[in-house]
Subunit: 452 residues, 2 copies
């Protein structure tokens, strides 16, 4: 299952002592790796080195010796003296460093609002530290700054060796500048002949990762040709993601593989087009209104749902009901119910879901209550026990109770794993409720309250 043998190879060079020493996590290497594969380039290595000229240069040379057609660098373009990527790349490509005066002026323009915001800054020193950013290898293609640092595409002066794409470190600058870089002539020349790979992602929720390993074995045993497919499975936030890369010629092999998954995992396969449960929920919630009462997740569910622009159209708000008093006061949970069943119980989860919906006048309510640990567990209610309920008001008949799904799970991992996975579980329950599923519901007897 390799599949990328004939593609041009690229190396990713991430610079910065703060990345090397673990002060900040590198997000650029993996992101660039994915983007390279999309354009048919095999990202063969990611290397992280500190801000040391000799290490930077040696790594560039190593990548050249290993036959990389392309090198992408991230970081080291800032105004301080330890930011020296541009200079080292110039040296590597055999090009002189020259001041690009129009570029210097454009950077000065970008910095002007900063000067207004912090009037105490010394204009000369700002100007000087940013002149450095306009000194570039002669003949390089400039990528206009998204922050203050320009990027570069630098091909070797003598035509031998890899082309280097130089990008800034902050992801929100790097990502749009990558899009610009890959449209340059120098980039296209470096990867001439690359065939863009296809990448398909399917997602499953509710099975262990080992089940997918079994499925792969079973597919081969059933005679499917997986050889031209590069299949990677991973467990993320409690979901299984199966990502497959393949050349256009292997589309048939992929289709057969997808059919095989569909058949074996009909009940847990929820996305065949790469859309996440977040994407699907945003769609499903359109035209509805929702509120959430969260105890152990303490706002994470609301935060994840509203990470998406436009979510205010369906998300009215929620309560972080950490204390029992808050459960009673904000979500209208009966204190006697908490007393009888405990704050972490399916009964209280149901009362939270329904109560918060009532409180906000929302059509849908979500209730989450659990023990995220590390303390607070008991033999009956261990750390990781989380109770969930999602509730939807009945449309027509006010006497009919709403539809709901209620679950109780013991989730693995540490405090933040448990909180994070709880949000995922709640999102899937909400998805299923919106698709029409619900728990069996006895007809309401006189005197019974929906929450009990």
């Amino acid at each position: 299952m390799s599949g990328t043998g004939s593609a041009p190879r690229a190396g990713i060079l991430v610079t910065g002592t703060e990345v090397l020493t673990g002060i900040i996590f590198d997000r650029n290497g993996p992101w660039l790796s994915e983007r390279l594969r999309e354009v048919g380039v095999d990202a063969a290595m990611i290397q992280i080195v500190g801000d040391r000229p000799a290490d930077l240069l040696a790594t560039l040379e190593f990548m050249r010796d290993e036959g990389m057609a392309l090198i992408i660098t991230s970081g080291g373009l800032g105004p301080t003296a330890d930011d020296l990527t541009a200079e080292i790349v110039g040296q590597f490509c055999g090009r002189e460093m020259v001041l690009d005066e129009p570029l210097e002026e454009r950077i000065a323009e970008i910095l002007r609002p900063l000067m207004t915001r912090w009037p105490d800054l010394d204009p000369d020193s700002v100007r000087e530290s940013n002149r450095k950013q306009a000194v570039i290898p002669e003949g390089a293609t400039v990528l206009e700054p998204v922050g203050t640092a320009p990027g570069l595409v630098v091909s070797p002066r003598d035509g031998e060796g890899p082309t280097v794409v130089v990008l800034p470190g902050p992801p929100r600058e790097l990502q749009p500048m990558w899009e610009t870089a890959r449209r340059t002539e120098a980039f296209a020349a470096a990867i001439a002949g690359a065939v863009p790979y296809r990448r398909e992602i399917v997602r499953l929720f509710g099975i262990p990762e080992s089940e997918i390993a079994n499925t792969l074995r079973a597919a081969e045993a059933a005679g499917l040709d997986l050889e031209p497919l590069e299949i990677t499975t991973c467990l993320r936030r409690g979901e299984i993601e199966v990502s497959t890369q393949f050349s256009p010629a292997a589309q048939g092999a992929y289709d057969a593989f997808l059919d095989f998954i569909r058949e074996r995992h009909a009940d847990t396969l929820y996305s065949e087009d790469g859309l996440t449960v977040d994407d699907q929920l945003a769609e499903l919630l359109t035209g509805h209104t929702l509120a959430a009462a969260e105890s152990c997740t303490a706002g994470l569910f609301a935060a994840r749902l509203t990470d998406r622009a436009g979510s205010s159209a369906y998300f009215l708000g929620g309560g972080v009901v950490y204390s029992n008093e808050a459960k009673v006061d904000l979500a209208g949970v009966d204190p006697e119910l908490i007393e009888r069943c405990g704050a972490v119980s399916t009964e209280v989860a149901e009362a939270l879901a329904e109560g918060i919906a009532e409180r906000f006048g929302a059509e849908l309510g979500v209730g989450i209550t659990g023990i995220a640990g590390p303390g607070g567990g008991t033999p009956e209610k261990p750390v990781g026990l989380v109770c969930f309920s999602v509730w939807m008001r009945a449309d027509e008949d006010p006497a009919r109770p709403g539809r709901r799904l209620t679950r109780r799970s013991v989730l693995p991992g540490g405090r933040s794993d448990i909180r994070d996975r709880s949000v995922t579980v709640a999102m899937h329950m909400l998805r299923r409720l919106l698709l029409g599923e619900s728990d069996e519901q006895p007809a309401p007897a006189a005197g019974a309250t929906p929450a009990s």
Copy 2:
């Protein structure tokens, strides 16, 4: 500012296609980098390569050529055929691969419970695929498995070149096995003479990163000796972190540098001991109670505060008050105030802070309201405008209004940057309120309400 020139150098080699392709994030590289520095070893590079024998071997050779005394590998020790780190390392160190029979038996012992749990597994195939894990380079030091894969410390057969520490990929196996590895004789021999480095971190809030660059230049201009200090600055969530590594001999140089920062940045330096604002708040909030009303951050503040175990002692809960109705209903904001000043206004932020505290019976309240974008901005109230208020009830005299801090900022970046930075701003305001700061407050006139 290199400073670590005389320490033994180490390379970290992270293997695995799923890491290289961005399917999972590498946490081992940064973690190992920090551990190496603690024992006086300079982690000079982290390299991520896929499961390809030629790339693995070339990278080991590159690290040897670059003068690494030590190489730590992570991953590639599993039972499947694409896990080949041990074999490549054996080849690199000039050692034959041999079956360690007692080790094979110990691995079989570990697997027995697994067989019970999944009775469908074929015992022969399990046994066979795990025999592979007991085939090790001759003369290597075995690190007992934490999962099923043993680790290794392998020194070069001819005594020339780096010693290689081979660790499994899963962090919960790698981390304890690192502790075992660093206590082995082979490890000690490889890094003989290393002097553990010191690492100090200071944090500043409220200045741009370029200001710190200026401070470094000014320190050098003032004659401070920064040469023995490895100083790294980074901008994270709107804060500046200055991390410095140095040998014990350079303590004096560090102390002088710290004094220099203290003097220049008295008002923005908030941590000299590496503690984060989260750490400080957890301490400061002890004995108090808090509630939060969040609009644009929609639960992120509550989620961050409760990320810490034990936070339920001071955090009572909060409201995600996305809609205006929720601001009125949950936090008791006067609808007329929203009408007059707009939902994003310092007045509404104040009303939210005070109202949510009242609602929860908390001593402290936090109110956050803003425009996270990308839509919803106007010339007067652009995307990124966020209004904050933190409020503390007056202890003794109920007629006296509480103390508060209220701010209005325009934060840069995209939707998630704005949300994330807003949380940081609110945490700092809360910290300062708890340390005794507050805005000037006019004496309450008859009929004036604190929120207006």
